[in-house]
């Protein structure tokens, strides 16, 4: 039996495959050879075969038949075997399958092995993929190794303990004694992993947090030494000593100082020192500053320190490195509520970020800008945000439009400015405006009584330019229906249109391909309403008769005595009609055809929202053609049971 081919040989061969099919064939052939080798319980080449299997697994091919072989490798005495075996276990096994439990005994033995590199393999595997059952069984061994003087093992045991605690939180207590002098270590690896372990324990348990608060002075001292100490070649990164450890200590300090005045005070000085002395020319220095800022903002720091932190973020915003700008915006977004005034000082820089090329930065700048809008800066900010709305990618437009509407509603300096702003949004991003904006805007316009004439004139003008943006068209139609009399009566600044021109425009909406059924509903409703305001009633009747072969016509007038409800539909979609006392929703009718000879009915549900509990009355007008001649039938429904509207 020839020896199985070597790993590198296999890799080279597979890479010569020119097609997916060719590759698959090679893989299948090799898998077959490996399978028979496994069946023969070949100890010599098991390691080589599993390694090849792992390569094929990375290419995406199934390798589950190698799982047990990994376990055999782990149990072998040879280090080469164990190395590949543990790697295979981490890649092929997962804790959801029972087979992984077979590893437990091997790991236990290896944790007590005489060679530290074997112990290391076991710790690494356990810390990477140990299931809760395994962790329960082996926690004692890990705890033992946490107390060893061998720093190579101690650091690994610490991170393994972190994993055990994540899997089985109840076991946290048992690691407490071993943490006693972890921070007295000189070895940076042990220090780093110890800080990670302490962080995990403090985050999980308020008792632990209280217990470890006493470590603050020691942590401050370690951090100080790192900053003040001279060049240390072993831990230096671009002139900074062990940035990884610095960042983890800062994070632990954050957790310890949070909601505790004494601890926060104890760390005040060192935080100020790090914030002012850290070199900012490279990413590594900025990483430390970033963590420092997060800590300052989260603990009970004095105001001077907080201002220092926000200013660091302000400087970050001006950094050429987009990653730095990104984290600055993210952090500012978190603090804008609590430190609003300090963040306001950087408003112009934030607004500049709206023009950034990176999508994530733009989004954050937009969110932050909206958070910074207030009564004082509304005009200036809105200018920038509207400009952004004009030019931004479609994915932003809906959120931006909503944000503008909200801000305008809160801080509009005048009604006219408010209407103008709404107009601007509808005309520039009208198709992206959310569905619920339309009724909200209508409500807003209704309430701005003195602006009715101005509003309807502007909306009418906008319609003349563009009828493609549905929300704009819907709002405009509704306004014309309500205030059409103001539009034609000369109350506006510009030359007023005549009634027929207005009807032309509305009719144009009915026939346009661009109009959705909802929009058509709005425009037909508007035409109907104008029957009470305009004099060209005949024309209106004609339009309605054309667009409804069988139409229910209920018309609305703002008559407080008899609040008639009116709307119309085309046996298709339903418009959402908004009027002063009622809101109506028409659902689709059960059919478009009323069967002949009383063989069936068509049902349509009309939902009425009647918050002012006005009496409900319905007038029905049926128009149809019978043998070529038009017929009209009128009916009234006056006997809605009082319970339905009271």
């Amino acid at each position: 039996m020839p020896a199985p081919i070597r790993l590198r040989e296999l890799i080279r061969t597979i890479r010569t495959a020119r097609t997916q099919a060719e590759e698959r064939e090679m893989i299948q052939k090799e898998c077959a050879a490996i399978r028979s080798s496994f069946r023969e319980e070949d100890n010599t080449y098991r390691c080589r075969n599993v390694a090849k299997l792992l390569y094929m697994h990375m290419l995406g091919y199934p390798a589950h038949f190698g799982q047990l072989e990994c376990l055999k490798l782990i149990a072998s005495q040879k280090f080469t075997d164990k190395r590949i075996g543990y790697l295979g276990a981490m890649l092929l096994l997962d804790e959801r399958q029972d087979v992984h439990l077979l590893m437990t005994n091997c790991i236990k033995n290896d944790l007590n092995h005489s060679t530290q590199y074997v112990q290391g393999l076991a710790l690494c595997t356990l810390g990477c993929m140990g299931s809760s059952e395994m962790c329960r069984d082996l926690a004692g061994e890990v705890e033992k190794l946490l107390k060893t003087s061998n720093s190579y093992l101690r650091k690994k045991a610490a991170l393994c303990a972190v994993h055990v605690i994540r899997k089985v939180p109840e076991l946290m207590e048992m690691f407490l004694p071993a943490t006693k002098n972890l921070l007295s270590e000189k070895n940076h690896g042990v220090l780093h992993t110890s800080v990670v372990l302490l962080t995990e324990m403090c985050e999980r348990s308020p008792d632990m947090l209280a217990h470890f608060r006493k470590l603050v002075p020691q942590l401050v001292r370690i951090l100080k030494n790192l900053i003040m100490s001279g060049y240390s070649p072993e831990h230096d990164v671009s002139g900074i000593s062990d940035p990884f450890l610095q960042v983890r200590i800062l994070r632990l300090l954050r957790i310890l100082g949070r909601s505790d005045d004494d601890s926060s005070e104890a760390m005040n000085d060192i935080l100020a020192q790090v914030a002012t002395n850290t070199e900012t020319s490279k990413n590594v220095g900025n990483a430390i500053l970033y963590e420092t800022v997060l800590t300052i903002m989260d603990i009970k720091s004095e105001s001077g320190l907080r201002v220092l932190a926000i200013n660091i973020l302000g400087r970050f915003l001006l950094n050429n490195d987009k990653n730095i700008r990104y984290v600055a915006l993210t952090s500012l977004l978190k603090t804008v509520q609590t430190d609003h005034n300090a963040v306001q000082r950087h408003r112009s820089t934030i607004v500049d970020c709206l023009k950034d090329l990176d999508v994530s930065i733009k989004r954050r700048a937009m969110e932050l800008s909206f958070a910074l809008v207030n009564g004082n800066n509304i005009r200036g900010m809105m200018k920038e945000l509207l400009y952004f709305l004009d030019s931004c990618d479609p994915e932003f437009k809906a959120d931006c439009a909503s944000g503008v509407f909200l801000a305008a509603e809160k801080y509009a300096p005048s009604k006219r400015w408010h209407i103008d702003t709404i107009m601007r949004v509808l005309t520039t991003a009208g198709s992206y405006v959310r569905d619920d904006s339309v009724p909200n805007l209508i409500q807003l316009i209704t309430n701005s009584v003195e602006m009715h004439a101005y509003t309807v004139q502007r909306l009418y003008k906008a319609l003349l330019d563009d009828i493609s943006q549905q929300p704009l068209v819907q709002v405009a139609s509704w306004c014309i229906g309500e205030y059409g009399d103001l539009l034609v009566s000369g109350q506006c600044e510009e030359e007023e249109p005549i009634q027929d021109e207005v009807l032309d425009v509305l009719e144009g909406l009915l026939v346009s391909n661009l109009s959705t059924p909802v929009t058509r509903g709005y425009s037909l409703t508007a035409i109907m309403k104008l029957s009470t305001r305009f004099t060209s009633v005949n024309r209106i009747k004609k339009v309605v008769s054309i667009y409804g072969s069988t139409s229910l016509i209920l018309y609305c007038c703002n008559d407080p005595i008899s609040s008639w409800i009116s709307f119309n539909f085309h046996l298709t979609e339903c418009p959402l009609s908004v009027c002063q006392t009622f809101q109506l929703q028409l659902l689709s009718p059960s059919s478009n055809v009323v069967p002949a000879l009383n063989q069936g009915t068509v049902t349509q549900v009309i939902r009425v929202l009647n918050p002012q509990k006005q009496q409900l009355r319905m007038r029905i007008k049926l128009t149809y053609t019978l043998k070529g001649s038009p017929v009209q039938d009128l009916a009234e429904v006056n006997n809605f049971p009082p319970q339905s509207w009271q």
């Binding site: 890799i11 080279r12 280090f79 590199y117 991170l159 831990h235 990884f244 990653n323």
Partner: protein
């Protein structure tokens, strides 16, 4: 850290290290989708993105993308340093590392990663100590596997401010 992926510009996986329990099927789906998302990004974009409910940090070195998924509380900027440290370790071990080194010696890449990170966190912050440990472990191997080394494009940082001290550290 939840996982780390290394993949080529064509989307081929060169290394996948998972620190959270997921089935093979789930891992494949995540890898495929995330790789596509990152490959679609333009060079001038940020190294960070929010994807599904994860924070992703990635950086391209020559023909390889190094991509990590980190937790909400994790510092993105220091994650970039973690990635860079791993690249430096590979570079020192292989001597001017290139993608082919990682393809042909993938198990070594894993061994090095497992001496640097454990359970998703850094276990050793000294470059020297990580390399020393790997060296010693290699000596223990009963069957010496020599490095299959190809001369090809070395891994260098691109699309970022290449600083002379960084490139010096990477070439040593």
């Amino acid at each position: 850290m939840q996982f780390m992926l290394l993949f080529s510009r064509q989307g081929k996986l060169r290394l996948q290290k998972w620190y959270v329990p997921l089935s093979d099927k789930e891992r494949k789906k995540i890898s495929r989708d995330l790789v596509q998302t990152i490959l679609a990004r333009k060079p001038k974009m940020c190294s960070f993105l929010e994807w599904r409910d994860l924070k992703i940090v990635y950086k391209r070195y020559a023909s390889l993308y190094f991509c990590c998924a980190v937790e909400d509380q994790d510092n993105e900027l220091i994650t970039l340093e973690i990635i860079h440290r791993y690249v430096e370790l590979l570079d020192k071990y292989f001597g001017s590392v290139c993608e082919l080194d990682i393809i042909f010696n993938f198990e070594k890449a894993y061994f090095i990663l497992d001496e640097f990170l454990l359970g998703g966190e850094a276990q050793e912050t000294s470059k020297k100590n990580v390399l020393k440990a790997i060296e010693q472990a290699d000596l223990l191997q009963e069957v010496r596997i020599f490095l299959y080394h190809q001369v090809a494009e070395p891994i260098r940082e691109i699309d970022c401010q290449l600083d002379s001290s960084w490139s010096r550290a990477a070439t040593k």
